[in-house]
């Protein structure tokens, strides 16, 4: 079970060990639910601990990013290791449309920059 921390307007999930397909789906559902629950503006998923990323994981992360965006939060994947990045690219799994950053710090910085625009846009929605 991946712990999800709330830090001001962001949710931070740090993957600790390799995840099975069902773990991944469970994490995705929990994150999507908590985005609404805590009115989060950003989600950071730290995958530093992962040394493999298969196509199912990549697809799940992509849906996660799309769904959270629909619910008003930007998702950033952080901590992809160089070797993992190499093999992902070689297999053509490039996480198109998902923000990525070097590590947690960078991810927070990235969300900090993109924050003003979603805030301004979502104010009228009253969420």
């Amino acid at each position: 079970m991946v712990p999800i921390l709330k830090h001001s307007q962001y949710l931070i999930a740090t993957v600790q060990a390799a995840l099975s397909d069902s773990d991944l789906l469970e994490l995705r559902d929990r994150l999507v639910a908590q985005v609404g629950q805590y009115r989060a503006r950003g989600v950071i998923l730290d995958v530093t601990a992962l040394d493999v990323m298969d196509s199912f994981a990549v697809r799940t992360l992509r849906t996660l990013a799309q769904v959270t965006r629909l619910r008003g939060a930007e998702t950033v994947i952080v901590g992809i290791a160089p070797e993992v990045a190499m093999s992902m690219v070689e297999l053509g799994m490039t996480l198109d449309g998902v923000s990525t950053a070097l590590d947690l710090e960078e991810g927070l910085a990235m969300l900090g920059q993109s924050l003003p625009s979603p805030l301004a846009g979502s104010r009228s929605r009253g969420k």
Binding site: S8, V78, I80, P82, V84, A85, M86, M88, V89, E90, T94, L95, T100, A101, L102, E106, G107, A109, M110, G112, Q113, L115, P116
Partner: protein, 301 residues
């Protein structure tokens, strides 16, 4: 080690089945060639000069080298073992390769020496054709084996030099330069093959992590040509860098290359391209400034 020596000995034995008679005849002819050393060596050196071989060397050097080749040649003939000669050939090659001596010259001088010596044997034994036959039976295989050893030694040495140079070029040509905080420059010079592309990407990704780079400028001014494969490698490098959170700007795309890429239809929509390195750096700094300012504002909260 023991085993290896045995193997070498076995190869030696297989190549020249030396019977007792052969050995004694070889001794005899080596003695003859030793006696006429000065004369034969000078004759040989003259023929080298006549044939315009080893023109990279001065006459004094040529004579000195000819003397030691001659002596090593006779030793190899006499003992029938090629290890010493092989080592000498490698050493000689090491010295003469940097001076631009070609393979045909090295093979040429060894064959000339073989001819000079054979002629001298003819001259000595021409009265008795049976003895001459036996002497030549002993001499020819040994001489041919020596020629092969020297030529192989030379070629091996040359290949070793080429391999060492290739490695050096490969290492030299992929520096990742941290120009300023969060900005890396990767100037690529020379052809990109799949192996190099992989190496390059690995190096870049590691550098991105170490330097916490946000923007990378890849300058390909020094890349002479590009085809679909190379372009795809470049696209992969860009994508892999993005997964680590770094934006890549490609600069220095020559007009011909740009045209080829468009003609063969490589999808470059994921690549940020800018005219030259200077503009690339300016663009990078602009992006960095954009990213850094809000980040600083955000930090106190």
């Amino acid at each position: 080690m023991e085993h290896r020596t045995d193997q070498l000995a076995a190869v030696d034995a297989k190549m020249v089945p030396l019977d007792a008679g052969n050995t004694s005849r070889l001794r005899e002819l080596v003695a003859h060639l030793r006696e006429n050393r000065t004369q034969l060596r000078d004759q040989w050196a003259r023929r080298i000069i006549d044939e315009q071989l080893l023109t990279a060397m001065t006459k004094a050097e040529l004579f000195a080298e000819a003397t030691s080749v001659y002596d090593n040649y006779l030793d190899a003939l006499e003992t029938g073992t090629l290890q010493a000669l092989h080592a000498y050939a490698r050493n000689l090659s090491e010295r003469i390769i940097p001076r631009g001596v070609e393979t045909h010259e090295v093979v040429g001088i060894v064959l000339l020496l073989r001819d000079v010596l054979a002629r001298s044997l003819f001259a000595k034994y021409h009265g008795d054709s049976t003895v001459l036959d036996r002497i030549l039976d002993a001499y020819e295989p040994a001489a041919n084996r020596i020629a092969i050893t020297v030529a192989v030694g030379f070629v091996q040495e040359r290949e070793r030099v080429i391999r060492a140079q290739q490695d050096a070029i490969r290492e030299l040509s992929t520096p990742v330069l941290p120009v300023r905080e969060r900005l890396l420059i990767l100037p690529i010079i020379g052809l990109i093959d799949p192996l190099r592309a992989r190496q390059l990407t690995e190096q870049l990704l590691r550098a991105i992590r170490v330097n916490r780079a946000k923007v990378v400028v890849i300058d390909i001014t020094g890349v002479p040509g590009m085809d679909a494969t190379v372009a795809n490698h470049l696209v992969r490098t860009v994508e892999a860098s993005r997964l680590l959170g770094a934006l890549v700007i490609v600069t220095g795309l020559a007009p011909e290359i740009a045209q080829t890429l468009v003609t063969i239809g490589v999808d470059l929509s994921k690549m940020n391209t800018v005219g030259d390195l200077r503009e690339g750096i300016e663009e990078a700094e602009r992006l960095l400034a954009q990213q850094v300012v809000p980040m600083l504002n955000q930090q106190p909260s």
